[in-house]
Amino acid sequence: MVETIVCRNVSKVFRAGKQSVEALLGINLTITRGMFVVIGGENGSGKSTLLKLLVGLLLPDQGEITVLGVPVKTGWKRLATRIGVVLPSDRSLYWKLTAKENLHFHGGIYGLKRNEIQKRTLELLLRLGLLSQQDQLVEGYSTGMRRKLMLAKALLHKPEILFADEVLSGLDPRTTTEVLAILEEFNREGMTVVMVSHVLHNLPAKARFLLLKNGKIVLDGPLNKFQFEGVVRIRAMLGDREIEEIAEEAELSEVILQLIQQGASEVRIEKDDLYSLVRRYLA
C-alpha cells in the first residue's frame, strides 16, 4: 500500500483580532494510492480547511502534511501539476470564456503542450457530455454543466490525486449520479479521489468515509463497514420528546412493543442510511 497523503498531528487556528477559531485539532490521517475518500461533517466542522491544507492553499499552524512524498508546507508549487483541485465555487471558472477556452487556458498555465491540450480537452468534454456545448460561454451554462467543466479542468493535466470540494452541491439527482460515476471511473483507473461532500447518497461502496466534528475526525471507515441493510430506525414521541432507536429488522416488533409499553406514541419506522448515521454521530 503506497501512502499518498499523510497528515501528522495537523492543527489549524484562524485568528481575527482577539478572536480565534480552532478549525482543525491534531488530525492524523493516512490515505493510500487509489482510495476513494469522502469527507463529511457539518458546516464549520473543518472539512474544507482540511482539503485546503492538503492542496497547499493553506499552511498548518502545527503538524506535517506530505502529499505524494512532497511536504506541502514547502513544496506546494512542485505538487501543483500532480494534483487536480475542484474548488467549491463555480466562479472559479472564467464565465466570459467558452468551455474549450477555459480548458485551453488551464492546460496552458499547467505547462501542457498545445496538441496535448486539444486532445485532452476533446477527450474530457466527450466523457463529461459537454462536447456539443464546448463553444458556449460558461455564463450560459447550468450549474450541473459548470460542475462538470470544473471537473474537466481539474482532470486536464492527468493528476494523480483529485481533490473535490462540494462538487456535488446544487446538482439534480441525475447529474449527481453522473458525476459520481465519472469520479468512480477515474478512481478505477488508479486516481486517488478525496471529496468533501454534504451529499452522502449513491457513494461508491468501496469509499472510505471520514466524518469531522469540531475539527476532529470522529468516524473513519469504509462505507461497506457501516451496515444499513436489515437495519431500521424507529422514531417516536415519548411525552413531548422525540426519541430515536436503531434496531435490526428481526427485533423490530420487540423494540416497538417496549416503546409502546413505555408510553411512546406516533411510532415511525424508517430505513437507516448514512445521513442518519452521520446525524447520530454529530448529535
Binding site: L58, K77, A80, Y94, E101, F105, I109
Partner: protein
C-alpha cells in the same frame, strides 16, 4: 514563458467579448487629455507637445496601475484567484502575463491617440520613435506597478484609492508642468518617482536632446529597480500570509 503567454491570451479573449470597450478605449484618452493639450497650445507650441507626451506616459502608468496593480483584486472578485494560487505559475508570472496583455492594450490606445492629436496638428516628434519610447517607458511603468500590486495584496483597501494615487503621481511627476517650477521639497519627492524620469525622457526626445534622454533613463532604471525590489518582497511576504490566513478570496 508559454505559461505567462496564456495569461495574456486569456486577458485578450475576455476583452474581445466586450467590443464596445475597445471603442471606448480608443476615444477616452483623447477626450481626457485634449483639454490640457489645447490649453497648453494657446500658451506655446512646445508646451502642447510637452503636455501631450507627459499625459500619454501618465496614461500608461494609469493603465498599468489599474491592470497590474488591481490584478489580484480583479481575480479575487471574479473568484478565480485561488486557481492562480493552485497553479504552477508564480504570482509574479501571473502579473507579467497581465503586463504583456496591457502592453498590447496601451500600444493600441497610444497609437490611436497619437493619430487624433496629429489630426489636430499637435507636434509630438517622430511618431514611430515616440511609440518606441512609450513602449520602453511602459516596461518601467509595469515594473513600478508591481510595487503597487504587492501593496494591494497586503493592504486590500489601497485598491479603492488607486485612481487618486495615479492622479497624485501624475501631478508630482509633472504630467502637465515642469517640475522645476515646483517648490524644492515637492521636487525632491518627484525625483523618487519613476514616472518623473519617464516623462522627462519623452519630452527630451521630442526636443531632440539625446543626452537628457539617456540621463533620464539612468534615473528611471534606478528608481524603478528600487520599487520593483520592494514590490517583489511585498508579493512574497503577502503570499505567505495569504497561505497562513487562507484569505485568497477576500477582497
Amino acid at each position: 514563458m508559454s505559461k505567462i503567454l496564456y495569461i495574456a491570451w486569456k486577458e485578450g479573449k475576455i476583452q474581445s467579448r466586450y467590443r464596445f470597450v475597445w471603442f471606448n478605449r480608443s476615444l477616452t484618452p483623447f477626450f481626457m487629455l485634449a483639454p490640457y493639450v489645447l490649453i497648453a497650445r494657446s500658451l506655446s507650441s512646445s508646451l502642447e507637445s510637452w503636455v501631450l507626451v507627459g499625459s500619454l506616459i501618465w496614461y500608461w502608468l494609469n493603465q498599468y496601475f489599474f491592470g497590474v496593480g488591481d490584478a489580484f483584486s480583479e481575480e479575487r472578485e471574479e473568484g478565480t484567484m485561488a486557481n492562480i494560487a493552485l497553479s504552477p505559475l508564480s504570482l509574479l508570472g501571473f502579473l507579467v502575463g497581465k503586463g504583456l496583455w496591457l502592453m498590447v492594450d496601451c500600444l493600441y490606445i497610444t497609437a490611436i491617440t497619437i493619430v487624433f492629436f496629429a489630426l489636430l496638428g499637435v507636434s509630438q516628434g517622430a511618431w514611430w520613435l515616440m511609440l518606441l519610447l512609450y513602449l520602453l517607458c511602459g516596461v518601467f511603468m509595469f515594473a513600478f506597478s508591481i510595487f503597487f500590486a504587492g501593496l494591494v495584496l497586503i493592504f486590500r483597501r489601497l485598491a479603492s484609492i488607486n485612481f487618486i494615487i495615479q492622479q497624485g503621481l501624475g501631478l508630482l511627476s509633472g504630467q502637465t508642468a515642469k517640475i522645476e517650477a515646483y517648490p524644492r521639497s515637492i521636487q525632491l519627492i518627484a525625483y523618487t518617482i519613476p514616472l518623473t524620469y519617464a516623462i522627462r525622457a519623452s519630452r527630451a526626445l521630442v526636443d531632440g536632446n539625446l543626452y537628457l534622454v539617456s540621463s533620464s533613463f539612468v534615473g528611471l532604471i534606478s528608481t524603478t529597480m528600487l520599487y520593483l525590489l520592494i514590490g517583489l518582497v511585498a508579493i512574497y511576504w503577502a503570499e505567505k500570509r495569504l497561505r497562513i490566513e487562507g484569505s485568497w478570496e477576500v477582497w
